[in-house]
């Protein structure tokens, strides 16, 4: 099955590259100037955020596709995109405070990026919950697609309003300029994480495909039965 082979290929290469990227990031490069060792979380945090956004954008595109054409394939990729995006954005909500705590010694910073991610997680959780509650195939696809589009459009809107709202007390943990030597592990980790994300997406797609083929696809239409011969009723 080509899809299975693709998933394995992407997964393996992703893990390999990621190992290299994290390896360099953790072991060899010098500690970051102001944040010391904790700066190394950067190599983890930025790629995770990037892949989360990529996954939700894939779901957004799939949502438009499913509204436009109504094809089941779009619905399946939308489902996969949302789930992968959820996994990665939940991770961001965990990594964020860990990174922020040492520099500002309180866990939850109203940093626009982090807040936006948290709101994105809640929004797409709502989409997944709603999706499980609707049983007719067409209506579930349409409702999920609309909710995905609305939730996706909401992300930049939330970001800007939180940034304005938050600009009153500017926080400290701005990423200081990323100097050259840190760029290598960052980019390598980025590539690795993206490949891993793609592998997750494909794997999740295969699950949805299998589920769809077994349950949703209407059985082959039997040929029309012959006209009933009328027996004269007693």
């Amino acid at each position: 099955m080509t899809l299975a082979r693709w998933t394995l290929l992407l997964g393996a290469s992703g893990l390999l590259i990621l190992g290299v990227g994290h390896g360099i990031g953790l072991m060899s490069t010098p500690a970051e100037a102001s944040m010391g060792e904790t700066g190394r979380i950067l190599y983890l945090h930025v790629p995770t955020a990037w892949v989360a956004m990529l996954a939700f954008t894939a779901a957004f595109i799939a949502a438009i596709g499913s509204l436009w054409t109504g094809g089941a394939r779009w619905d399946l990729s939308m489902e996969s995109g949302i789930e992968v995006g959820m996994v990665f954005s939940v991770l961001i909500c965990i990594q964020g405070p860990i990174w922020a705590y040492p520099t500002q010694n309180y866990w939850w910073t109203w940093d626009p990026r982090l807040t936006t991610t948290a709101i994105m997680v809640v929004a797409f959780t709502g989409v997944l919950v709603m999706r499980r509650l609707i049983h007719q195939h067409e209506r579930r696809m349409a409702a999920t697609a609309v909710a995905t589009i609305v939730s996706w459009v909401n992300v930049p809107v939330v970001y800007f309003s939180v940034e304005w709202w938050d600009s009153v007390h500017q926080d400290l943990s701005q990423v200081s300029s990323v100097d050259k030597v840190m760029l290598v592990p960052l980019l390598v980790s980025l590539a690795g994480t993206s490949l891993l994300g793609a592998a997750f997406f494909l794997a999740r797609y295969r699950i949805a495909l299998g589920h769809y083929q077994r349950e949703e696809v209407a059985p082959e239409l039997p040929d029309l039965p012959a006209q009933l011969e009328l027996e004269d009723s007693p």
């Binding site: 067409e138 209407a218 239409l221 039997p222 029309l224 039965p225 006209q227 009933l228 011969e229 009328l230 027996e231 004269d232 009723s233």
Partner: protein, 201 residues
Amino acid sequence: MPGERLVIMGANGSGKTTLLRMLSTATMPSRGTLRLFGLDPAREPEAVRQRLALLTHLPSLYDDLSGTENLQILARLLGKSLNVEPWLTKVGLDQRPEPVRSYSAGMRKRLSFARTLIQDPQLVLIDEPYGQLDPEGFSLVDRMVDELSARGTTVILASHLVERAAKLCDHGLLLHQGLPRWSGPATQAHQAWTTLHRSLT
């Protein structure tokens, strides 16, 4: 042919309602194509829906509003005169101010029929016309169907009360587990029904 009447017969779950909903463009077929008035409803839903009306067991009425107000909403939407009085008398109702909530099942059915008459459709699809009605209501349904086809409206009924519906219609279609098993003149409908059941038991 305008004014003709077809009854779709079948036990519950035989696909009568689904077929009716598909004919009324309430549900789109997942496969295959559908032709109504020579048009494809998937491509031109507005044109098709203008010409047909669907009557389901759900009355699609606003319980808080009176019968007159319910019809006036429709009249306003269709751009017709707000004097709905003639339609009410045609179905044997009057301009009482009480909300529809206080109506009996029979009166609700009459109001639903009035809703259909106002739209003046070319095709009327009725799901279980005799549902929740007393015998007196049955004769009302018959009169209404006659009224509709007298105005040249084609009527398609879906019912499991075969004898009653068959007497009313010209053609019959027997469904069983989603598949058409017989179609022909309504006079033989009862015969087909018993034949099918005899072959099952």
